[in-house]
């Protein structure tokens, strides 16, 4: 059976000089060493699977998520989503994929209803059907009727993140990329989002890729896990198979990478500097 996501020798580097790099090249000045974000990544995610990618800040998780989500072009290698190349067939891939990032990205002065109506329109959902589904999904998320019409900046981060998951669901994606969806949330909000993700996995025929540095979250939600460090996949297996006897998943992570998972800084993540 064709895998949901197939990644073959994916390489992504960043020029630290940015646009200045082109000038340096033109003027024959020495170039700064490129930052290797993804170093020959190979992996396959099967249909219907919840596949976790765990790593610390700067390990390459978010870069990988962005390449699969068509938000970054790879330098070499290939990424296929349901047989479609993310570079050549980006628009086709976008049609059946959605991503929830560490920061709930909305027009914060607009209400959940207004933000989700916008999403419904750009994804071509009929207005009547969209309106009904928006209310269904938001009510299932325990978002009060009044809050649905209030600006999102009056909601807690946890609620905003739940609306972000709802937005992704509204488009009925067959591939859902969750890029640290619970980072920076308080324990209660975190559990609510995790419960919702679990419910989505149980009730929707979707493949999920979850990027996280939260080992408990990874163990609870994922069928298989890959450990990524310095842009390389070190190992992939079922969570239980990654642990030695008596080890927690975090212990296994430290054993495999040689360092602990760093505490994530939400501000840094908001600036796009996540793993």
């Amino acid at each position: 059976m064709q895998p949901a996501v197939s990644i073959d020798h994916l390489v992504k580097q960043f020029d630290p000089a940015g646009v200045g790099g082109a000038w340096r090249r033109a003027l024959g000045r020495p170039l700064k060493d490129p930052i290797v974000a993804l170093d020959a990544i190979n992996l396959q995610v099967q249909r219907g699977e919840v596949y976790g990618i765990v790593g610390s800040n700067g390990s390459g998780k978010s870069t990988l998520a962005r390449v699969v989500a068509t938000l970054l072009l790879p330098d070499s290698g290939s990424v296929q989503v349901f047989g479609h190349d993310v570079v050549r067939d980006a628009r086709t891939v976008r049609r059946f994929m959605n991503r929830v990032s560490v920061e709930a990205s909305f027009f914060k002065k607009l209400s959940p209803l207004e933000n989700l109506t916008f999403t419904a329109r750009i994804y071509g959902l009929p207005a009547g059907e969209a309106h009904q589904r928006i209310f269904e999904i938001l009510k299932r998320l325990d978002i009060e009727e009044k809050a649905i019409r209030r600006p999102m900046d009056q909601m807690s981060r946890g609620q905003q993140q739940k609306v972000a998951v709802a937005r992704a669901l509204l488009t009925s994606p067959v591939l859902l990329i969750l890029d640290e969806p619970t980072t920076g949330l308080d324990p209660r909000s975190k559990r609510e989002v995790q419960d919702f993700v679990r419910e989505v996995c149980d009730t929707h025929d979707a493949t999920v890729i979850l990027m996280t540095h939260d080992m408990d979250e990874a163990e609870q939600l994922c069928d298989r896990l890959a450990v990524i460090d310095k842009g390389r996949i070190l190992i992939e297996d079922k969570p239980s198979a990654l642990r030695l006897e008596g080890e927690t998943l975090e212990d296994a992570f430290i054993r495999l990478t040689g360092h602990a998972v760093e505490v994530h800084e939400p501000d840094k993540a908001a600036a796009g500097g996540g793993g």
Partner: protein
């Protein structure tokens, strides 16, 4: 046909969302509108003030109308340019740029939606400014050719949109400085287009730039329509340069935007910069 309908629906999504955002930021909208009206009144007062300063008589009413048309048209063109040129910056500032660029729509749909919003929003503002200023100075606009004026705005907007789209690409290339460069483009258009004076007063080397600014032709045509009531047929010669500029800037703008987007996707410059 279905695909076209879907893209049009998606374009409308940007118009609707942006108007909703304007409504939510209504306090700022009132402040900006108040500022624009006061600015237009202040500029118009240069005419009667000029009579006192120069110490000689000239047709101050015509000069008021000349300045009012310049101010209102510039308020419109500036707003169109602003809304289009900052479409990427706005998405980035709100934090939605990645989800917008990940949507399964053509990029031209995003541009068209943002441009349609820019034109509608700016037109509404310009009408309010014109009405208030006209009432304030009891301007006689009875001789104006409003159909012609509307046609000038419609055609003139297209040429400016092309330049706006090119400017919108700048923040995709330069995360921090892109928006600043956009303001430089905007200010340059203000200087060379004859907003408050005929371009003939500019030094030759600067006047040359007025030839490539669509705002120059919009202002000339608009003054002909509003001050002199020139008929639509007689306005046609003004449309030629505007259409030529549109024919060049629009496709170039869309191409530049696409190129800049590919650059941003290759170098990771799409994401929010804070």
């Amino acid at each position: 046909m279905v695909a076209l309908g879907r893209e049009l629906g998606a374009s409308y999504a940007f118009v609707e969302r942006n108007f909703r955002a304007v409504r939510r930021y209504w306090g700022w909208e009132v402040v900006f509108l108040f500022y624009s009206i006061v600015n237009a009144l202040t500029v118009a007062y240069i005419a009667p003030g000029g009579v006192l300063v120069a110490g000689q008589q000239f047709d101050a009413d015509r000069l008021i109308l000349f300045l009012v048309v310049g101010t209102v048209v510039w308020a419109y063109l500036n707003s169109v340019f602003d809304s289009v040129a900052f479409m990427v910056s706005w998405e980035r500032w709100e934090g939605t740029i990645e989800s917008t660029f990940m949507a399964p729509i053509r990029r031209v749909t995003f541009i068209a939606g943002s441009s349609a919003f820019a034109v509608l929003y700016s037109f509404a503002r310009a009408v309010v400014i014109l009405v208030v200023v006209a009432l304030f100075f009891s301007l006689d606009l009875g001789a104006a050719n409003w159909v012609g004026a509307f046609a000038v705005l419609a055609i003139g907007s297209l040429g400016l949109l092309g330049i706006g789209i090119m400017s919108a690409a700048l923040p995709l290339l330069f995360l921090e400085r892109g928006s600043q460069m956009t303001v430089v483009v905007q200010a340059s258009l203000l200087l060379v287009s004859g907003v408050y004076y005929p371009v003939e007063v500019l030094p030759d080397w600067l006047e040359w730039f007025s030839v490539i600014s669509p705002a120059t032709y919009v202002l000339n045509a608009m003054r002909a329509a509003v001050l002199d009531g020139v008929t639509l047929i007689d306005l046609l010669p003004h449309f030629g340069p505007l259409m030529l500029i549109t024919a060049v800037t629009m496709p170039v703008g869309v191409w530049v935007f696409g190129w800049a987007e590919r650059y941003a996707l290759r170098h990771g410059r799409l994401k929010r910069s804070g």
